[in-house]
Symmetry: C2
Subunit: 667 residues, 2 copies
């Protein structure tokens, strides 16, 4: 049993510190400590390896050099040709700040010094009027705010603001927040009704950042500016001056088009998510933040409608989002390819940001269902188990004989990217992860995610619980009331969407609770020390897709608890994976493998290898066969094969080879 | 019965006029006249609508303007930002030349004048030393041959040469060939061992053009230069000076990479086709031309190996080639997506060019099998039935609710493209189509394709046949010997790869002939007037793909004869196509519809509509369902539906909607 925490009135030290006028149904936990188990292990690698490698990588890639150029402290050409290189620095600073907010951060003193040094550099690069963009200051002088579609100035400002808010909130230091406010004030003086520019940024991000700045500072003008940027989308402000000017296959400029830039239709009229996935999701996170602060029903209805459409028609099994390599965008409804899935790690991070805001805004559990799925299966695969190898695109299949063309979009892990948006995004999410676990309201405390630790939440007289669990490997979640308050209050436990069977106990007694909108709600006068156990059955599941998801017709995926599994070639010597079938009639088994991939539960299933090997098609030189009844090329024969599936988050951590999430079946 | 043609010693007037040292197994027909039936109808539209609209479209798009700028005959900014705009003009000139080579070309005199005018403009734009590129002369002065990866100078030169050869061969005019030779001589003086530049072009095309120029002029230097360009591929001459410099999703320059540019591996060592599909196919057509002229066994083995690998693992059912939108390139083996098929019309044209050369080089029928499939199902869909609407990408599926993002890569027909490579490519292929039908050798005459007309071929004492057929609507092909020679010779008829049942008759008597390597060979002393009838059974077929083609698992396609069919939303009112299943147990029926789509045979099949409509997934907000045995989301229920399939070449000629080539089955 954990030590009982002392009563606290502390403000939340993570993302989303709502002010008094917030209309959200739920509020973030006031205290959030994640102390053990699965996520603690992943967060330790992030703290000990991931974040510490940042400054050297940002130095090697030129990001810090470019800021020194802007500060007049160096004298050489601008490095790289991307206008948003500053944002990598800001996202890393945000990650470091959340990490520094934890009392026992490894190497905390060194990290504090390192961040102070880089914060100083950022401040030195800022222009007297508050403007800050190393790209425009150094590489495009005099062109400030002339290319809102691709310039990324407001996008970078957004990440600067997020970093400033995080650094102030988590460490109490004022410097970076001050830099951010100066830029925010400059933007507010420049953009808006009756100001110099009526426009918005080709890459959303500043919207959510401005709402957080409003929350941190109490200044209404930042919320008003965020709402303005949300409102002005979809009115053609970002129209391409040369429409249709992108040649097929011969891009001679950045991708454009109103859909890509989130400028085709106003948010309140949109029917489904579209365009560049990260842009869409950052924008919707910002719109949800605006709705939380303004309570506007129409905007709330719009984000609810768009979230449901996205989840129902455009989300990969892993929670990954994105269908096209060429514009990094969503496809049509149910267009969810496997090997060409474009599940950018940043889109997964942005999806968690958005869904968490939706969960707080509405109180509905389904948003945290998607957060759980996304964290385990779309964010985490983006970083290797050792914290040094990254994936930008997270495909659901790598074919036998996959040809690696290199570049950011490769299906092989990479030490860093030219467009290095993803790694620091993973860092900042892992560093702030404890804050996505619990919430509170006047009714009590809600546990959205299951991880060992302590959470304090619940209105003016908060309550606290501690959690002990080996989740996701084991289904037993023990929740102990650490601090109560007079009278009844409700402990709400999310019953995961994937769960078919569970047991619920108070002390040793089985109890029933109404499963209400995805929540198991236990309302009583809780005594400190009382324990609730939720025991989720973790049988492996075989999952099929809606028949309209053409890409995976005739296939199943293996899942267990919140984890999506995959098969990797390395576990199946003697052939590839493209002619392997799974037998759904034979129930899969589980095997605990403490020494494999940092300790995982493996799922073993029966299958068949057709033995096509590297041979050409069965019919000779032509891979299609016709018959009167279409039965010509139905697979048959083959040799039995034991299929070993590992959690998808742990793929691509051994020798490179083929991989499949979706497996064709023998039936 | 056609009039018996007089004996001829004329040289072939189409592509590939082999010289005496050619090592090809077969030689193109000396005379080729296509007089009626299916292709005559398509060629009439090409001659009466397609080609005549060229000058106005090239004027509107700026291509002719740019040549006038280069000629010093205009004074305004360069139009467009593609360095290869001249090539559209050359391809159109080539199409017009082949068309002018036909004695009864509609509007022939006007077309002759029009081409003469434009040929004059091309000549005027040429620089004194023979160099010609309006882009570099006008928009990038002083940068000649400094950007071989993207400059497209040799690519444009190749199309100029092809046009020059065609114009000279088909019309006898010397002017354009002279312009082409001057540029070819300049290139030969500049490139090669010991010359100023050791390099090749980022976009192959000049290789095959130089071999044709060698054939037209007899000059060895052009063949040597073609071989040099073929040999120097794959040695890193086109290496990106800034490797990995393309950011994911933020291209700031043309696509690059050694695979894309056909410079990753020398042709003789390559194991499969890769990279940009059109580049790959033009290169392999050129390599095959070199092999035809040099007889080099290693090069011959390489192109045979690559063709088989392509056909077996990277060819869509339609014959279309290409798997990725972002680089217009081939995917991995068996990576053949449907809605994201990247079957560029130019790749289909190039595939016909290459396969026809392979057929002549080797004498094997399978190459013409692919030519047939590609002509009907990959080239022809690229142009609308009325000759004015084009498709650049030819997808195999358009989803319900498809969102049209415009641009060249749209799934909707377009009047012209910014990158307008495809339309004039279709024009030149249709204009030269009669030359892809028959060949000859000392043994006799081979019919590769079936169309009504007259063909003369067969060595020093050629023979001639006429063909009467309603193919592909009917399977009866009547071949009459129009001119014979003393002694026995062999009439070879390709037995199409798709054909399971056929009858063969000489006069009225059924005969048998050995089906040898895809050929039905009838050897005898033929008398003029003797008739052979090949009667191919045209039952509709249901076709399945190799199990490794993940994209179409659990689906069948409908085929009949050489035609691939598809279903279009317009024929299925009351819903979309994404929840429709085909019942393979119920045999499909055919219906002759003379008033539909210019006259087609429709295939009618039994199916089911699941009735999911525009509803979300059956399980609520999440489109995946799990059970212990994976049987959760198997489709069931639905209402019976008669499925009407039309030939794929005729799709997208009515109101826009969804479309599918591959249909899921009820079993």
């Amino acid at each position: 049993m954990s030590a009982r925490p002392s009563p606290t009135t502390a403000q939340p030290s993570g993302p989303l510190r709502f002010g008094p006028r917030s209309t959200a149904a739920l509020r973030p936990a006031a205290e959030a400590r994640l102390t053990g188990g699965f996520w603690a292990q992943r967060r330790r690698v992030n703290a000990e390896v991931g974040i510490p490698q940042g400054p050297a990588l940002l130095e090697a890639a030129g990001n810090l050099h470019n800021l020194r150029l802007a500060a007049g402290a160096a004298d050489a050409p601008y490095r790289g040709d991307l206008p948003f290189m500053d944002s990598d620095v800001y996202k890393w600073l945000e990650a470091a700040a959340w990490q520094l907010g934890e009392s026992r951060t490894p190497g905390g003193a060194g990290l504090a010094e390192e961040t102070a040094r880089i914060i100083g550099l950022v401040g030195a690069a800022q222009q007297p009027d508050g403007y800050l963009s190393s790209w425009f200051q150094v590489a495009r002088p005099g062109e400030r705010f002339t290319d809102l579609r691709w310039g990324h100035e407001l996008y970078c400002a957004g990440h600067l603001i997020q970093a400033g808010v995080a650094d102030h909130r988590a460490t109490g230091r004022p410097e970076l927040l001050a830099v951010a406010r100066r830029f925010a004030d400059h933007i507010d003086d420049t953009f808006g009704p009756g100001r110099q520019i009526d426009g918005c940024c080709g890459h959303p991000e500043i919207e959510t950042a401005l709402v957080e700045l409003h929350r941190e500072t109490g200044e209404q003008r930042y919320l008003d500016l965020a709402r303005y940027f949300v409102d002005r989308r979809g009115h053609g402000l970002l129209a391409d001056p040369d429409p249709g000017s992108r040649p097929a296959g011969a891009p001679d400029g950045p991708p454009t088009g109103p859909g890509y830039c989130q400028d085709r239709v106003p948010i309140r009229q949109a029917r489904n998510v579209e365009g560049h996935a990260v842009r869409q999701l950052y924008l919707l996170a910002g719109a949800t933040d605006v709705a939380i602060e303004t309570g506007e029903p129409e905007l709330t209805a719009a984000v609810e409608r768009l979230w449901t459409a996205m989840a129902a028609t455009k989300t990969h099994l892993t929670g990954g989002l994105g269908a096209h390599h060429d514009k990094e965008d969503f496809g049509d409804a149910y267009e969810l390819p496997t090997e060409r899935a474009y599940c950018e790690t940043c889109a997964a991070v942005a999806s968690v940001h958005w869904s968490w805001r939706m969960a707080l805004l509405t109180g509905h559990a389904r948003y945290s269902d998607l957060v759980e799925r996304t964290l385990y299966n779309a964010v985490l695969p983006g970083v290797s188990l050792d914290g040094t190898g990254w994936l930008y695109v997270n495909p659901l299949q790598v074919r036998d004989g996959y040809q690696d063309h290199g570049g950011d979009q490769t299906s092989r892990r990479t030490a860093w990217f030219r467009c290095a948006c993803c790694p620091p995004n993973v860092m900042r999410l892992l560093a702030s992860l404890p804050h996505y676990v619990a919430s509170g309201d006047d009714q009590g405390l809600q546990l959205h995610q299951y991880a060992s630790g302590t959470w304090t939440a619940g209105g003016t007289d908060p309550v606290a619980v501690s959690v002990e669990t080996q989740y996701p490997w084991q289904g037993r979640i023990a929740v102990t009331v650490e601090r109560s308050r007079p009278g009844e209050w409700t402990l709400s436990l999310r019953l995961p969407q994937w769960c078919e069977q569970y047991g619920l106990y108070v002390g040793d007694r089985p109890v029933t609770a109404p499963a209400e909108d995805g929540w198991l709600r236990l309302r009583r006068a809780w005594e400190p020390g009382e324990t609730v156990v939720l025991d989720l059955a973790l049988e492996p599941r075989l999952t099929r897709a809606d028949p309209r998801v053409d890409a995976v017709r005739g296939c199943v995926a293996i899942e267990r608890g919140p984890l999506v599994y995959c098969v990797e070639q390395v576990d199946h010597p003697g052939g590839g994976l493209d002619d392997v079938l799974l037998d759904p009639k034979s129930p899969p088994a589980v095997k605990h493998c403490p020494d494999l991939l940092g300790g995982v539960v493996v799922v073993v299933a029966s299958g068949t290898r057709l033995g096509l090997g590297s041979a050409g098609p069965q019919g000779g030189w032509w891979p299609y066969r016709s018959t009167a009844d279409g039965s010509g090329a139905a697979p048959g024969g083959g040799t039995p094969l034991e299929l070993t599936a590992v959690p998808y988050y742990a793929w691509a951590n051994r020798e490179p080879g083929s991989m499949r999430v979706w497996l064709p079946t023998t039936d």
